[in-house]
């Protein structure tokens, strides 16, 4: 089966094709079967390929599964094949994508049951899976870019799924365009690589870097360009603005694309090119810094948001910041590890939030919730598990992965970044529990009508929640920190063939313990503050708001970044274009064209005045001609 690993992306791809072409005539039941099944098939193939991978680093340097399907673009030195491969890094991503993807497909059957565009939804979801699989399985940068853009497209389409809502259509467009800005840089990065290394294939790139055929300055430039692409896709500063708006899409989409998979593509890309980034330390530092800043920054915005999905969105941005922080400091495995755990718990949170919305007839505003604990007996605990995980409570997966990043940060001497990470952690814990408390605890603030319809979601939706909750809890145990014993970090060892080895940063066990304690403390503090503010004395937040109105307004308005971008880029572009159109294109360029025509006409008018009809005038012109011609001869 693993010989056919290259079929993995094509199951959902084929499914998309069928749904798009024949979707109209297919019964809903069939669609509900086909779409998840295709993903499941991919998952099975992925799993078998995964199992067939050499299990240890002993096979280091050996070729992984790789298949060139056909020569793709060949023009001069630009030679790119359509090649898929399957190495440990890909394996993890494939499993996450198909695994989580499958669960979300199943969930969607329930969530989207009543939507009129049911088939379209599933075809897009399948298409997304296809593109994402291409992204992670591509053996070269250009093909990866295909997937990269493909997922962007699906993101666009799914965010704008309910295109009749202006907000949704706008959000989709915004996502795509912002992504495109990153992509432009990404393309340039690709060009630099192809131009200088004559290849776009990952193993060859790594080899070329190992042979030091790239100057460090150039490497930095390339790395930074690619990272700009990553900030677009993974919603980091400064290109994160699309992600919160992306919540206009259906919630399972948010879970799959805007939490678990697509947005982490940037992290995947950086990890994939870790040789390059390691070779460009400055770029790595930028990555780490941006990651850390985003982690804190997005967290602060999440503090004040009232839209349940937006809180989660900012939380996603923040968590991806952590991943970049990990990658930036060189702890690629840790970054990937967080990606992997995050995929479970964040999709869990989103799906649970979706379940809440489902229960409340689509209500998103936390201020109109409260006390839902007793109405949603399954959603509540799963949501809680998700929150605990993300907050970094020990023995849940989030704890291990986040701690791995922070530890590595510390170990490599980046104390400032570590401190930022901790700050982010406390904020995370706080806003997650604020969310929990506002939603499930306290008084019931929803209207009577909503209460009337209030119900727990059907099993097809709660089932996935339970599964994801399970994974949220246990998935961390594949990468235990050193304190629990050596060689327990199976995850890191698994990725060793892919990640450039560098000198080990050993901390003493004591220090490690201290760090763990610190992060646990931070997490608990955050939870405690949330408890205090939102359950113990619910009036306090309002007082705080009253005390710091400026800060509050800044946070509620998301630092005014959308407005600033609008004023700094969008409006000048549109206004400038209009100015050019009305003041230059029409009057000057077009005017020159029409003007020359008018000039001709005017000349004709003048000359036709001569043609007065009077013989005498004709004779005069005649004589004038004679005079001139004779003059030319005589003089």
């Amino acid at each position: 089966m693993s010989a056919y690993f290259w079929l993995i992306p094509f199951f959902p791809g084929l499914s998309t094709l069928i749904l798009v072409i024949f979707g109209r005539w297919l019964p809903k039941k069939y669609v509900s079967f086909q779409a998840p099944f295709a993903v499941f098939l991919s998952f099975l193939f992925g799993l078998s390929s995964f199992l067939s991978l050499p299990s240890t680093a002993a096979h280091h340097g050996e070729e992984f599964l790789s298949k060139t399907l056909f020569a793709w673009i060949y023009a001069g030195s630009f030679q790119v094949d359509f090649t898929l491969w399957f190495d440990p890094l890909t394996a993890i991503m494939v499993l996450v994508v198909t695994g989580v993807g499958f669960i979300i497909h199943v969930y969607s059957i329930g969530y989207m049951a009543d939507d009129r565009s049911y088939t379209r939804y599933f075809s897009l979801l399948n298409l997304f899976t296809f593109a994402m699989l291409i992204l992670v399985m591509a053996k070269n940068l250009v093909l990866m870019f295909v997937g990269w853009e493909g997922v962007g497209l699906c993101s666009y389409l799914l965010i704008g799924f309910w295109f009749e809502k202006h907000a949704a259509a706008n959000a989709g467009k915004k996502a795509f365009i912002v992504n495109r800005i990153g992509d432009a840089a990404f393309i340039l990065g690709i060009f630099f690589i192809i131009l200088n290394l004559k290849t776009a294939s990952f193993p060859e790139i790594n080899q070329a870097i190992a042979e030091a055929s790239l100057s460090p300055g150039l490497a930095t430039l390339i790395a930074l360009l690619l990272f700009v692409g990553a900030t677009g896709k993974s919603a980091q500063i400064p290109l994160y603005v699309w992600l919160p708006d992306a919540m206009e899409g259906p919630t399972p989409v948010s879970a799959l694309i805007h939490a678990a998979t697509m947005v982490t593509a940037g992290v995947y890309m950086v990890t994939r090119l870790n040789h390059l980034f390691t070779f460009a330390p400055l770029a790595s530092e930028v990555v780490a810094l941006i990651g850390a800043l985003t982690a804190v920054y997005a967290g602060t915005i999440a503090l004040t948001q009232n839209d349940i999905k937006r809180v989660l969105a900012y939380s996603t941005i923040s968590q991806i910041g952590y991943m970049f922080l990990g990658c930036g400091v060189g702890a690629y495995a840790a970054g990937m590890f967080h990606l992997y755990t995050h995929a479970f718990f964040k999709s869990l949170l989103f799906l649970a939030a979706g379940s809440v919305m489902h229960a409340l007839s689509g209500e998103l505003d936390m201020r109109k919730m409260g006390g839902l604990k007793k109405y949603l007996p399954l959603t509540y605990p799963t949501f809680l598990i998700g929150a605990i995980t993300i907050a970094g409570v020990p023995f849940f997966s989030g704890f291990f992965s986040k701690d791995a990043i922070l530890t590595q940060c510390f170990a490599r001497g980046n104390y400032f970044l570590w401190a930022l990470g901790l700050l982010g952690a406390i904020i995370t814990a706080f806003y997650m529990f604020r969310l929990i408390f506002l939603t499930f605890h306290g008084e019931e603030r929803f209207s009577q009508e909503v209460r009337h319809h209030l119900h727990e979601s059907p099993p097809i939706m709660t089932g996935p929640l339970v599964v994801l909750a399970f994974f949220s809890v246990v998935s961390g145990y594949v990468g235990l920190p050193v304190v629990f014993g050596k060689n327990l970090n199976w995850f890191e060892r698994f990725l060793e063939p892919v990640i450039k080895s560098h000198e080990e940063h050993h901390l003493t066990l004591n220090t490690e313990w201290m760090l763990i304690v610190a992060s646990v403390a931070v997490a608990l503090t955050g939870i405690a503050i949330a408890y205090w503010l939102y359950l113990k004395s619910p009036a306090l937040p309002h007082q705080l708001v009253a005390r710091f109105p400026g800060v509050y307004r800044l946070l509620v308005n998301k630092y005014y970044v959308d407005e600033i971008y609008n004023a700094a880029f969008v409006q000048p572009l549109v206004k400038g274009s209009e100015a050019i159109y009305y003041n230059f294109d029409l009057p000057v360029i077009d005017g020159a064209v029409n003007g020359s025509g008018r000039l001709m006409n005017f000349g004709g008018k003048l000359l036709s005045l001569l043609q007065s009809g009077q013989v005498r005038d004709y004779a005069l012109v005649f004589l004038l001609g004679v005079a001139i011609i004779l003059g030319l001869v005589v003089f």
């Binding site: 036709s608 007065s612 009809g613 009077q614 013989v615 005498r616």
Partner: protein
């Protein structure tokens, strides 16, 4: 007599004819002006014949006079036609066609 005198006279007559064509305002006199110009040209031809001592130019003048006669016949017929239509032969009023 220097030959140039004849040419000067010819040119003077020619120019006067041209001037008359411009100044006169009835068709028939304008036509007469042209006849003057033709005659001036004839004078130049005759003088040239004398100058070169060949006869050809005189024959040309003979032809030119013939042509002038023929033109006169046609031209006067056209002027008559105009007169019949307009009851005058003012040059200025022949201006239906212009622009």
């Amino acid at each position: 007599m220097p030959p140039v005198a004849f040419f000067i006279l010819s040119c003077l007559l020619f120019s006067l004819g041209g001037l008359a064509f411009i100044i006169k305002r009835d068709l028939i006199t304008q036509f007469m002006a042209i006849e003057i110009m033709l005659n001036a040209a004839n004078l130049a031809l005759i003088a040239a014949a004398k100058f070169s001592g060949t006869l050809d130019a005189q024959i040309i003048v003979f032809f030119v006079i013939t042509v002038a006669a023929a033109e006169a016949a046609v031209g006067l017929a056209i002027i008559l036609l105009i007169y019949r239509q307009k009851k005058n032969i003012r040059s200025e009023e022949v201006n239906l066609l212009k622009g």
